[in-house]
């Protein structure tokens, strides 16, 4: 049985799109998950008994943040070109999005390397370390999942498997990517701007 048979074809009976409702639900769930990690971070701000403390070791990741926020724009532009049927420009902007996201992940890796080996801050050093790595790590893992999804899209497009009927799939992946970005707004503000004062 094909899925076409399952959908009601009557034009006067419209129901919301499955993919959109599904993605909205997923985003609600993920937001609830992040909320708890954010609350834990806030709760433990200034409560570490020993150093290093945030203000000693954290530096605002300007470049990485610009890269991540920029990738929300590039993905939107890429989508526009996909809609217009311009494959070449779609690929360019989509690959640029992936590159920006990848740079962000690279930055997180470098930052963690520095923190662990130069500053001696690990997840078990103090409550700051625990909450910092948990929250930032949760976000980074979402960026990595996003990168995998973005790559799947571009690979299937190169292999000619992405037809216009899939544009809603692509749109949903863009939604997810915007969500990951929005979370970074919260994490950036909280971790790098507010908690460094404690």
């Amino acid at each position: 049985m094909s899925s076409a048979e399952l959908t009601n074809t009557d034009s006067d009976w419209k129901l919301p799109s499955q993919r959109k409702v599904g993605m909205i639900c997923l985003i609600i769930t993920e937001s609830a998950l992040f909320t708890i990690f954010v609350v834990a971070y806030v709760w433990y701000m200034g409560k570490s008994l020993n150093g290093p403390f945030p203000k000693e070791v954290l530096h605002v990741p300007w470049l990485a943040s610009i890269a991540l926020f920029g990738s929300s724009f590039t993905v939107t532009i890429a989508e526009k070109f996909l809609h217009k049927g311009n494959r070449a420009l779609f690929h360019v902007w989509w690959l640029l999005t992936i590159a920006l996201g990848a740079y962000f992940v690279y930055f997180t890796g470098a930052e963690w390397y520095h923190l662990i080996y130069k500053e001696n801050l690990t997840i078990s050093t103090n409550v700051f370390g625990s909450t910092f790595y948990a929250l930032v790590g949760l976000h980074a893992s979402h960026v990595i999942i996003g990168l995998i999804l973005l790559s799947i899209v571009v690979i299937s497009s190169f292999r000619g498997k992405l037809d216009p009927g899939h544009s809603e799939h692509v749109e949903m992946i863009a939604w997810y990517w915007h969500f990951v970005d929005a979370i970074w707004v919260v994490v950036l503000t909280l971790v790098y701007f507010i908690s460094v004062n404690y």
Binding site: M1, L6, L15, P16, V21, C25, A32, I36, Y44, A134
Partner: protein
């Protein structure tokens, strides 16, 4: 007018042959279950495995009660006792309550909204198997935790796993890790299933099934699924943090390093309180279907029922700390959580009055599902009253962690949830298997179980008042607790044959039950419009509805509901 059909009558199709009747072997049956993505089979698998875990967790409860029969009893070791109450509570909430309600949702929602399957059938199968393995993982801790050589270890930290009981220093070995991973895994399954329920109800309703015409059952499950996707991630976050603490030495709940043990309680109950509504709203959902049909009246106050449900769900997200009155919050905190808890009694009361309003002046039919629902109403009332009592802070200070609390929540979980599950199983049994459940056996089940249940849990109110704490493995003689404990244990012994009658009924009626026909209860929702059991695709042609009671319209073409809506 009489010729006008509201529900197209030829969406029915002949019943497929039953498994087993065409000489299928066991390996066929098993393959059929393992590879299936059919929402009805998955629904029955959820309910079946829920019943299996129910029996296991019930045996543990019985052993706990036997231990408490005499003061200073040595029937169980203290360690074994702790493991039993932990495994009992965890299993009853996560391996019995959750899967049973998802089983009902899976089986019924697609048929009730007139579609052929859940929105994501494979995700559905994934959800079931993840749940099932999480259950096996939990019990595997008996073998795996300290290695088989040291068999007999299992989590012993309570179903709430309060820190620092769960810290590496206090919980050696891996039993707590099995607990954590099992809960995390089960949570993933529940989230997948809930998202599936939401997408199915929003995107796959048959023509004419507007939100205002959905059966209340479906409405309540929409609310439940929303509660799950908001309240379960905090629990998953707890498990992730605890695992980080135990494996990587993180300090989330380590008070030696500035961590906070009470934070666990907040996070746990932010999940834990909504969880009790996740469990009880499906009970209400089942009652919403059964009470009107056996009163021969449409449900009283449909929109108010929906509003009250949404209100309950909303408020339940803001009352979690009534489980923490005794940890020493500020009096502002206590007041807030006491009042918000009491406020929940309002929409809950509205529901009870609407059920009574439905029965008022109706023609009551005391079939098995209805009797269980009536007992549910009465028992839930008692549970609600003791709940409001507990929300009064000084009262809670007196009785927190006493047997009074045990009595309260068992009146909710058994007296309300389990009774509606029994009612639902009897009600939809003819739909699923094409045969009627046996009434005589069902009555034996009802009376034995009900007498046993009240004998078990009512005395616990009293032993609680007399100061008996919960979770103690034994007690001294001469405090006036013996008689109440002994009544309790005798009550459990009476419940056991009740359950045996129930299980026997399920098996016996499958082979020997009366043929049910498509619509044995003369009901009015869509699932009764197809054959019993329904074919794999539910309906030959997707139906079209024009009112809340499509089957009533079909059966009474001269007096259809849609004329009045």
């Amino acid at each position: 007018m009489a010729s006008e059909t509201i529900v197209d009558p030829d969406f029915k199709v002949p019943a497929p042959e039953r498994v087993g009747e065409e000489g299928k072997t066991w390996s066929h049956v098993i393959q059929n279950l393992v590879f299936t993505v059919d929402h009805k089979k998955l629904g029955l698998m959820y309910i079946g495995s829920g019943l299996l875990f129910f029996v296991v967790a019930g045996i543990m409860a019985t052993l706990i009660r036997v231990q408490l029969f005499f003061p200073r009893s040595t029937f169980l070791d203290p360690d074994v006792f702790n493991r039993f109450f932990t495994m009992h509570g965890t299993a009853m909430v996560f391996l019995v309550g959750m899967p049973m309600i998802f089983g009902f949702a899976n089986y019924l929602i697609p048929i009730m909204i007139g579609t052929r399957d859940m929105a994501y059938p494979r995700l559905n199968a994934f959800g079931f198997w993840v749940f099932f393995f999480s259950g096996l993982l939990l019990y595997f801790s008996y073998f795996g935790a300290p290695g088989l050589y040291n068999a007999g270890s299992a989590p012993d930290v309570g179903w709430f796993a309060y820190s620092p009981l769960t810290a590496k220093a206090f919980s050696r070995g891996h039993s707590t890790d099995y607990w954590t991973l099992s809960i995390l895994l089960g949570g993933i399954g529940s989230l997948a299933t809930s998202i599936n329920i939401l997408v199915t109800t929003f995107c796959l309703r048959c023509k004419g099934m507007t939100l205002g015409r959905m059966p209340l059952f479906v409405w309540l499950f929409v609310v439940v699924a929303f509660l799950v996707i908001i309240a379960l991630p905090p629990l998953s976050a707890c498990q992730i943090m605890l695992t980080l603490d135990r494996y990587l030495g993180a300090k989330f709940f380590d008070t030696q390093a500035g961590g906070d043990a009470v934070l666990w309680q907040h996070f746990f109950w932010i999940f834990g309180h909504p969880e009790v509504y996740i469990l009880i709203l499906p009970g209400f959902a089942i009652a919403n279907e059964i009470i009107p049909v056996f009163s021969r009246k449409p449900i009283f106050g449909y929109p108010i029922m929906v509003a009250a449900t949404v209100m309950i769900a909303f408020i339940s997200l803001g009352v979690w700390a009534h489980h923490m009155f005794t940890v020493g919050m500020t009096s502002l905190g206590n007041t807030f959580f006491a009042i918000s808890t009491m406020v929940i009694a309002v929409p809950t009361g509205i529901k009870i009055f609407n059920w009574l309003g439905t029965m008022w002046g109706g023609k009551l039919h005391f079939e098995l599902p209805m009797i269980f629902c009536l007992a549910f109403l009465f028992q839930f009332l008692i549970a609600g009253l003791t709940g409001v009592m507990l929300s009064v802070v000084p009262f809670d200070w007196q009785l927190s962690d006493s047997y009074f609390v045990v009595a309260h929540f068992h009146y909710v979980l058994i007296g309300a949830l389990l009774y509606t599950l029994f009612a639902g199983i009897y009600y939809w049994y003819p739909k699923a298997f094409g045969r009627m459940p046996n009434r005589k056996l069902g009555l034996w089940h009802f009376w034995l179980f009900t007498i046993g249940f009240h004998l078990t849990f009512f005395p616990q109110h009293i032993s609680g008042f007399l100061g008996m704490p919960r979770r103690i493995f034994t007690y001294e003689a001469g405090r006036g607790w013996e008689i109440w404990n002994q009544l309790s244990t005798i009550g459990v012994i009476i419940q056991i044959p009740g359950i045996l009658f129930f299980v026997f009924n399920l098996i016996y009626s499958y082979f020997k039950g009366e043929e049910a026909g498509d619509d044995p209860w003369d009901a009015w929702t869509l699932e009764w419009a197809t054959t019993s059991p329904p074919p794999e695709y539910n309906f030959e042609k997707t139906p079209e509805v024009r009112s809340r009671r499509p089957l009533w319209d079909l059966k009474h073409p001269d007096d259809p509901d849609w004329k009045f809506e």
